[in-house]
Amino acid sequence: MLVLRQPFPNLGETVAGLLFVVAGLAFFVQGLEMGLFPVGDTLAHALARKGSLPALFGFAFLLGFGTTVAEPALIAVAAEAATIAADGGAIENSEAARQDYADGLRYTAALSVGVALIIGVLRILKGWPIQYLIIGGYIVVIIITFFAPEKIISIAYDSGGVTTSTITVPLVTALGVGLATAIRGRNPMIDGFGLIAFASLTLMMFVLVYGMVI
């Protein structure tokens, strides 16, 4: 307002919208404490007590895959990537080819988040320090960057941040912290966080590789 010296368009709608935002956030936080956090927490405890690795890994994978495949932000990014690939001549410039490419990218991304959560849960179980895995991952990303087509790079880097949605994050965080609390010898602060970091990292890798292969 000060810089552009122009009045706000539709002041009424803006004020109403702001009220909606504030009320929405209040409900969301309340719901987090009542619903999402306890569910993630009790599931993590129950799975840890059950002691069945396939069940735990299965849950981690499904949580990652299921929440990512339907993520609206990812659908948008995938469509954008398909347009770029078509313009670059990497794929045929037709509706069907673009759709195929976008779907492939979406499933690749969902798969990678599922795999990431399995690795992340394995790390919590074993108590591996996170920095070696993440830094190792960064180095791999940088190496792949040299071989990936230039146009996919920005999209791949962006997609790491895009895909972790508002409902996934609290659940995944509660799962990690719950697991680290339930397993003896793990510190929830050191071992509980980090699952989301894995998800963003593997996403960048998988999208870069997808851009190279196709």
Binding site: A23, G24, L32, M34, G35, F59, G66, F193, L195
Partner: protein, 264 residues
């Protein structure tokens, strides 16, 4: 009255799409609860009410954003990047002509991040787990500063047209160096904060800024240069959160040293 009707239909539509977004997660959660664990969760009623609150809250939040913030944010991004405002005309613009764009980018990065629901969730959890050693607000501000710097630098990159991987690699190098020196307990949280910051609020506004900037700046293609702002926004919080931890522990140490000197 028209506004009210518009709001109501918009709310209904958003509610339906939010429910569809939440469905797969709910299916997985309850599937596991009943098939694998075979146990009725305690406080089922409370949990269901909690889920209803989450869906309701997200719906209101998204409608509000759509009504209030996105149009303003997008039109401001378009106006600020318009050559007329930048004082262009005939002469070629240098990167220093874009000062207001950088300021706007930083402000947008900061304010959208403070309002980001996923970040609120993670910082609440961190405060709870750390027994209050990490304050939810401190963490949110630290992350928001990181995003602000990141988006401003990302805007600078689009204006200058320099390659993204160089910036990211330098950023990674800083992260690696910081990792060696910060206390162990903040590292996982810092890494997480990178991916957490950019969701519902930040992505649409920041992406609009990037695409707008790339399409109005001469010699930039929105498809190649327009992306990459989100990457900055997810890298810099890692740096700023570790920086915040180093700063608080340094202040704590200094205080202790001072107290020792005073008592001696």
């Amino acid at each position: 009255m028209d506004i009210l009707i518009g709001l109501l239909t918009e709310t209904g539509k958003t509610l339906v799409s939010t429910i569809f977004d939440v469905m797969p997660i709910v299916a997985i959660m309850f599937g596991f609860q009943f098939l694998v664990i075979r146990q009725r969760p305690a406080h089922l009623r409370k949990i269901v009410i909690g889920f209803v609150y989450v869906v309701l809250g997200l719906t209101l939040f998204l409608v509000g954003l759509e009504q209030a913030l996105f149009p303003v944010g997008k039109s401001m991004a378009a106006q600020l990047t318009a050559p007329g405002f930048l004082g262009g005309g005939d002469r070629v613009l240098g990167w220093w002509d874009y000062t207001w764009v950088y300021v706007f980018a930083a402000a947008i990065g900061f304010s959208t991040t403070v309002a980001e629901p996923s970040l609120i969730a993670v910082s609440l959890k961190a405060q709870e787990i750390s027994g209050g050693a990490i304050s939810a607000w401190g963490l949110r501000i630290a992350v928001a500063i990181g995003v602000a710097i990141g988006v401003a630098l990302g805007a600078f990159r689009i204006v200058t047209g320099t390659p993204l991987p160089y910036y990211i690699m330098v950023g990674y190098a800083i992260v690696i160096i910081q990792t060696m020196f910060t206390s162990k307990w903040i590292i996982p949280l810092a890494y997480d904060s990178g991916g957490v910051t950019t969701s519902t609020v930040t992505v649409p506004v920041v992406a609009a800024l990037g695409l707008g900037l790339a399409s109005t700046t001469e010699g930039r293609s929105p498809l190649i240069d327009g992306f990459g702002l989100i990457a900055f926004a997810s890298l810099f919080p890692i740096i700023s959160v570790m920086g915040y931890a180093s700063l608080t522990s340094w202040i704590g140490r200094r205080k202790r040293v001072q107290e020792k000197e005073e008592s001696a």
